[in-house]
Symmetry: C2
Subunit: 312 residues, 2 copies
């Protein structure tokens, strides 16, 4: 038997889904948190779970060979002081659809002035002024992995121009122009929308800083659905307060939950959401695990392996 | 020379665009309203304009051979007491993109609970609850002309199921299932979203009535971007007040502008906009006119001809 530990707030739902899957030679234990997990003894070969719940038991899993994260973000595993004697895989290819709906929900909300229209309605005021469109606009993606590619695909559906800023990859056919390295200001120049999908790595830290924000046109909108550490939060607040860009939508922050006295709650033209742009759905995660587990049993290379050095 | 009258609130912009076009043998007069038009003498062979501005002078255009509407809706021309001794063409194929952005802007706004998220932000409340997606949902289109087809194309992009209710046509490849005639209740059954793109005709009058609305699931959303007369407004208000559906978004009404004391301004879960879902853009209209005018000069059949009996 292969011993698997599932550690998740949704452990019951995972239990139910795994029972239906009937994966071969698998002996499953579930836990809703790290303490429960620890109480089961920690002689598991595989762990599947939320990174923040695996982190406290990571060093104690004495038989660990493979950890499958339920999330895309795996910063909890990357501290150089932590073990790296196992295979780490993350969830990929399942968040793009939801992220893309989030990004276009907010972009269309902006263009259609949905909040303003509602204020006119509340005032019983017929406002026949025209609104904008995303068609013809230029969107810049910071990061073009599977999520960025899905946002790019939707952008092309809406007949937009797509720029991509990446470390080196240029393999998404929906990106019209690629930028790398020092091209960041040129990339930002004349963007209508800037969207960060960047993971939390040393290289992406504070990449959205004052100089990048200053390079955007005054009508630009910034959206962050990647990780909070990509943004210099003070610089963004200053940019919004001085109306150097038209607005921002943030789903991720340096500190989550956002502290109740953080200036983001009340910054002008800023909409915040609560790290909810792309939920990790148990059905999707079980499908990913299933595929990887069958590879594992056959001794094949696992999909979605994380490079500890690169950080994604 | 061929004498053309342009009658539009945007006459100056049309004048400028036509000067750049340099269409052959065309002598152009412009007017901002019907009275100005009348003052120019009315010996025009062609009129291009907003239907409500053409209507008062329609019977006096003694040399009229062709009227090109700047809008899709041409109800002002259809009264049986009016002349029909000329060719009427409307604007088509240019509103789908904007209508589609409107429909998906509001659907994503609903699924992402953008208003609720904003309320949470105003209360400094971190709300990590998950939101919905349009992916996997079923949308039903009342009317599948060029606008309905564009909405269907966007729905398929977002991996939705598309139903179409039409008089008889079945030529849109993005519609998964067609319904006609008495299939209306079957069409509405289990729809997540119902969208009317219907023109103002005798046959479509009050098609969205109590029985159709009652056939929708309680979580359904209704959107009207066609014409107001397709909806039984009292039935819709009752449906919203009794929470038989989750909400509605209306861009068109029986009477426009909507009277300030109309119950729609304050009906629960109803968002209204102001006949602004798809503006008529002069560049688009000039392109349509140009193509048709060259056909006209060559004696060919015009595109987008309106059937006076059918009404579109």
């Amino acid at each position: 038997m292969t011993k698997l530990l599932i550690v998740s707030g949704y452990a019951d739902e995972y239990q139910r889904l795994f029972e239906a899957e009937k994966l071969p030679t698998l002996e499953i234990a579930t836990a809703k948190n790290s303490a429960e997990a620890e109480a089961t003894g920690l002689d598991y070969e595989i762990v599947l779970g939320e990174p923040k719940l695996i982190r406290p038991i990571l060093m104690k899993l004495r038989n660990l060979r493979w950890a499958q994260s339920m999330y895309a973000g795996v910063e909890q595993f990357l501290d150089p002081s932590l073990r790296r004697d196992y295979i780490l895989t993350n969830a990929r290819g399942v968040f793009g659809g939801s992220m893309s709906e989030y990004v276009f929900g907010y972009l269309l909300n902006h263009e259609r002035r949905i909040f303003e229209r509602y204020r006119a309605q509340q005032e019983h005021r017929w406002d026949g002024s025209t609104t904008g469109m995303v068609r013809g606009k230029t969107i810049g993606l910071l990061g073009v992995g599977s999520i960025g590619a899905e946002i790019a695909r939707t952008a092309k559906h809406f007949e937009m121009t797509v720029r991509g800023y990446t470390r080196s990859s240029e393999d998404c056919r929906d990106v019209d122009a690629y930028y790398h390295g020092n091209d960041l200001i040129e990339f930002a120049n004349e963007l209508d929308y800037l969207v960060s999908v960047l993971p939390n790595t040393v290289e992406t830290r504070r990449i959205v800083d004052a100089s990048l924000l200053n390079a955007l046109p005054s009508h630009a909108i910034f959206i962050n659905v990647g990780r909070g550490n990509a943004v210099d939060e003070s610089a963004l607040i200053h940019t919004l307060e001085s109306k150097q860009i038209a607005g921002a939508i943030l789903d991720v922050f340096d500190q989550e939950p956002l502290p109740t006295d953080h200036p983001f709650w009340t910054a002008p033209n800023l909409l915040i959401t609560f790290h909810t742009s792309a939920p990790s759905l148990p059905e999707d995660i079980v499908r990913i695990f299933r595929e990887n587990y069958l590879r594992y049993l056959r001794g094949e290379e696992l999909k979605y392996k994380v490079d500890f050095e690169r950080g994604y």
